[in-house]
């Protein structure tokens, strides 16, 4: 079974770096993007299993990215973890039109991001498979 793939999107390089390291160390494949547009392009080319994105980004906001992913049949099922410095900015209608499963406010804990990723895309099974291999 192939390793699960996570798309990490943030305009702060340090953040994409640390999330990638944490999830990569836990056995996930990671792709990164610096903004919403780039992320959408990557996701449509090769849909990941999970998207972790920042809310406020240039060109296209996190919510807009999620809405676009939801609209496309190829990516409509992909769950999203939203990292945001402004948890309150997410309106119910934004949650309704997207596949955002969890909102984590900054400063966030990479540990918790990993736990949430595991919960959403069943990393435990993946580890077992890998360990068995």
């Amino acid at each position: 079974m192939a390793r699960k793939k996570i798309l990490v999107v943030d305009d702060e390089a340090h953040i994409t770096h640390v999330v990638s390291l944490k999830l990569g160390n836990a056995g996930y494949d990671i792709i990164t993007a610096n903004d919403g547009e780039e992320a959408l392009e990557l996701a449509l080319q090769d849909p990941p299993d999970l998207v972790i994105t920042d809310l406020q980004m240039p060109y296209m906001s996190g919510v807009e990215l999620c809405a676009r992913l939801r609209e496309d049949p190829k990516t409509t099922q992909i769950p999203v973890i939203m990292l945001t410095a402004r948890g309150y900015a997410l309106a119910q209608e934004d949650l309704d039109r997207t596949n955002i499963k969890s909102v984590m406010s900054k400063p966030f804990s990479p540990r918790q991001v990993l736990e949430m990723a595991n919960d959403l895309i069943g990393h435990d099974e993946q580890t077992i498979v890998e360990e068995a291999a």
Binding site: D11, I15, N25
Partner: protein, 484 residues
Amino acid sequence: MGRAGIAILLCSAIAGMISGFVAVFLLPMLPISSGIVLALAASFALAAIVAGCIAPVLLSTGRDVIRLENQIEEAIDSGSQVTLHCGPWLRPLADALTQVQSRWTEKVLKLNTRLRELEIRHRLIEAERDHAETILNSLHDAVLVTDSFNEISLTNHRAAELLGFDTSTAARRPIDEVVHDPRIRELIKEIRSSGVVTRQKHVEHAMESNGEAGGRTSTFDVTLAALSDGQSGVGGVVTILRDITKEREISQLKSDFVSQASHELRTPLSSINAYVEMLIDSEAQDEASRQEFYQIIKSESDRVSRMIDNMLNISRIEAGIVSVDRTDCDFVKICNEVIETMQPQAAAKDIMLSMKSGPLVYTADADRDMMHQVVMNLVSNAIKYTPEGGRVTISVENDDTTRSVMVTVADTGLGIPPDALPRLFEKFYRIENYKRVAKGTGLGLNLVKHIVETVHHGTITVTSELGMGSKFSFTIPYEDPTSR
């Protein structure tokens, strides 16, 4: 009166003479008995003698009367006390008149004094009323005083302007006819009909600021106070409307600043927190990774600290409590120091960092550290947003028209989009698309503008062409204009 007296005297004299003539010549010719004629003649003659004797006395008295009359007329005209002169016959009358005149003169004096007092009092009251009206009209708040019939008893221009009426015709008219805003009318009536003179009532009310629909909507703090009617009830109501739109905007700006600042601080804090947790969880697999994490933590905490410094400096300048240490600043020297400091960063991007200056550049009266910070900030930005192989040039010259030293930092970098130019010096403003080009607090240029314009009364301008580069120029007056 005088002429009448003379006429009487003349008549009596003439009558006397006629009586004498009749007695001597005419009576003997009449066919009457000589005894009667004698008697009549004797009586006519007596009458003539008496008339002849009395006439001079009467004539002199008549003249006295005329004199008295003239003197009294004079006295009335002059309004002052006059001593009446006359012969002995009229002396008692003159004395009595003098006394009467004296008493009247006294009364007139008293009345005059009283009149003057009243005039002064009237003028004072008028001045006080003008004074009060001027004060009332110079208030920026609208004042409306209504009486127990809900009629306007006192108001000012601002109220007229705001509530849409004319001050000259509003007095004594019911508020229902004068005040267009229904809420204000309702509030006034409510307070009045409550029947108790209680403490002030404050209500926030939004309405068109010119009293007519279509104007700008402003927010008002409406203060209503019931006036006592002298007994126990409510006589009238004082209504004061204060425009608090600006205060609301400022408080909104402040809360926006706090929310923006905390957001901006969270980003580096978030990195610090995440990398520390990674170290705790031993996620750095080798020494090189650990070193990288330490570096990131260090640079992000520096960023937090820079932001806090900038915020504090900006708020100190805005609050006017910054301490400024003015000396004769040599800008050529300052720019050379900045170049020396920034040279390694420029070299790392293969950027040519150079300086040119006129043969003789004057010094300017400024805070040296702040000037260093301004030049440093502009040069650092120029290097950040100039691609490899570009050029950053600092020039220093005298601007004799404004009697200032002018420093220009020009680069061959990305340039600034025209729509971003007006917002460039705003707090926390960053050009969205350049965020990934370089890190920043979004406060640097705001601080620079404050230092140049607020603290040093200079100017800062920017010109830029997208893709061609940007040019920031600031001027600092040779002498501080406020110290002269």
